[in-house]
Symmetry: C2
């Protein structure tokens, strides 16, 4: 009656371990006493919007906290204080209701909060996340409204000759019916990857909430991985956002990503129904692709990015047609939406220089200066404002 | 020509910071010297399948490594050794090609590896992941084959009165055509959530690779969140896998999850085309739901779980119809697949006791004993073997 098998798929693990380490560790495990760590809560978000961070590190000599709400404030990492049980803590705020990211540094080692499983993954490291709930964060919160779907898609990239991943948001009801939708191609910044807009960026929730209030047109949001693997012939130290990487991404976008989306999804495949938008490195990628491809994109967003004075001559040369025919450009451009935080280091060096350049050439655009710095706090708000203007 | 706006959506952040901390931190940032951390690689997987872990922690007095490949080996955490630059390291292996999880503990603080962005999220903490590539791991690797889609779905749970999330794998080609598919409901273990089967569990890749070789029937794999929020009236200290939580999950599955899937996806909504399978806590949930719902499920998998002698009387009482009518049960059951690792603490206490109970009542089943312990190393292999038998 019973079919019995013994499965064998590899050597038993563990034989490489040193016997001394083994015995010592077993001894430790058996002796383990309760510690304050067992019941520690961190972060502890209080009703008054103050937030307490705690970490049990009795042997540490310094613990500091870095959070994205500190950026642009002139403040650096904040020190935690140790109590007599070895628990370090600090209370910040009150913070404006929103989502925030942070890391802890224990004796010089940057780490995530061991008590907080909510994280934002990057290419080489992770940050923790937390929510301060409240009215100001309602636009990005997980609400009891109809939810679209975020799809994790792997595709074979011909440009990069490897499997690559993107995240795609489809609006509620996409799977029922035969409607075709416009597409926003939404790019992340340096150090991040394609999950960022769905974790710390909360793109799906922002779209869900806008759609529930009929404030935006239903659309797909395609969030590719803009962090390029290093080219075999790349010079050592070439930055991820450099021109060569931008061109590799442009090829990947135009030859792989957009064709994949238009083959596999019910989308409106024309310029009036395509938007391209990116933040920071993704803003640079947008500026690399969009002005020379107005036949493909009618809506452009450039966030926390721009054109530096140093790069201006090259930009003008490569985009001569875009800049020197304002009548034609302005007729094709449905929207060019530039946003930057007033505390963003790139505000004066790049974003405002781009605005001046566009003014000089008579290219129509919107310029939105917000509070804050070079952080996701801004980019979520920009998406909320910008998505309402698309495909109108 | 330029539309300019000043956005205001909250108070400027940072005003709560102490001036002294601010100035000290700015001083530190300005003075920052290069450290060995800047170029540190961890984990460093070598061609001979040995793996070196490194962390820069010059002030630490003890760093240890815990990995799932150690489980069941009798080994506990392994110590790292510090060099004169403050870099701690240890080399393990060679390891059988596979995916592995680990954490580091620095002076008693459990943390993830700051240099490794690959993680598996849990309910309250995270583990790092890495791959040792090789032939033995080909079944679960990201290959250049057609890929299905993993969809992150939020739905409104009537049982729990909150937005809840599940992950759903749809096979390649799902979006083209009108075919209806069978469904595997695949449950995770205690401490995990619905992303686990798509990160450390690699369910989508395992299915992609099986389908590319035509070794499995195309199916949806629905991976719900089995970690129940604590009920308002739950006794303090009630375990997540306890009977009350199991019943809450059963309600959620039968009243919310399955109806959501069958409303929103093109699936075959009958017992011959539904499988339910879970590991550890999810195996307990499977045993709570499946035997009394054979009208809904013809395929059952119970992995690294079972029925303890202590729980046997209650199990027999609640499943009297299932156990006492073997002819009827065996006619309805297309497959009951039990798997456990020989080093799993539950092997002898629960899994083999379940097998004996089924033998005693004449209920047909398969029992697969594998190497290893209570780890995802086993569960990925079980999925690979089990999925090939489904819906035949």
């Amino acid at each position: 009656m019973t079919k019995r098998t013994i499965l064998r798929w590899g050597a038993a693990a563990g034989c490489f371990l040193l016997a001394s380490a083994t015995i010592a560790a077993q001894g430790r495990a058996a002796r383990r006493e309760p510690t304050p760590n067992d019941t520690l809560v961190s972060p502890d978000v209080q009703p008054d919007h103050r937030v307490t961070f705690r970490i049990y590190a009795p042997k540490a000599s310094e613990v500091t906290l870095s959070g994205d709400w500190m950026e642009g404030s002139g403040a650096g990492p904040q020190r935690l204080e140790k109590d007599d049980k070895g628990v370090w803590s600090v209370t910040v705020g009150p913070l404006v209701p929103d989502f925030y990211s942070y890391t802890l540094t224990v004796d010089g080692v940057k780490t995530i909060d061991p008590k907080n499983a909510q994280i934002k993954q990057g290419v080489t490291s992770n940050d923790n996340l937390f929510e301060v709930p409240g009215e100001e964060a309602a636009f990005e919160a997980t609400q009891m409204v109809p939810h679209g779907t975020v799809r994790i898609e792997w595709y074979s990239s011909s440009t990069l000759d490897m499997p690559r991943r993107m995240h795609i948001y489809t609006p509620p009801g996409y799977d029922r019916g035969n409607q075709r939708y416009p597409v926003l191609y939404l790019l992340h910044g340096g150090g991040d990857e394609d999950s960022g807009w769905s974790t710390i960026g909360r793109a799906g929730f922002i779209m869900d909430n806008l759609l529930a209030q009929k404030k935006a047109k239903p659309m797909l949001v395609v969030m590719p991985n803009g962090s390029m693997p290093r080219a075999a012939n790349a010079p050592a130290g070439a930055p991820g956002g450099g021109a060569a990487a931008q061109d590799r991404f442009a090829g990947e976008l135009l030859k792989d990503i957009i064709p994949f989306v238009e083959k596999n999804y019910r989308v409106l495949a024309n310029r009036e129904n395509r938007a391209i938008t990116g933040l920071s490195m993704g803003g640079g990628q947008t500026l690399r692709v969009a002005p020379t491809n107005l036949d493909k994109f009618a809506f452009i967003g450039v966030w926390s990015s721009g054109v530096s004075q140093q790069a201006q001559a090259d930009f003008e040369k490569r985009n001569a047609d875009f800049l020197s025919n304002p009548d034609k450009t302005n007729k094709m451009l449905k929207l060019l939406w530039i946003g930057v935080g007033e505390k963003d280091p790139l505000a004066n060096t790049s974003a405002k220089n781009l605005v001046a350049l566009l003014d000089q050439h008579g290219i129509k655009h919107e310029f939105h200066e917000s509070p804050g710095a070079h952080t996701w706090i801004n980019w979520r708000h920009y998406l909320n404002d910008y998505a309402q203007l698309l495909f109108r």
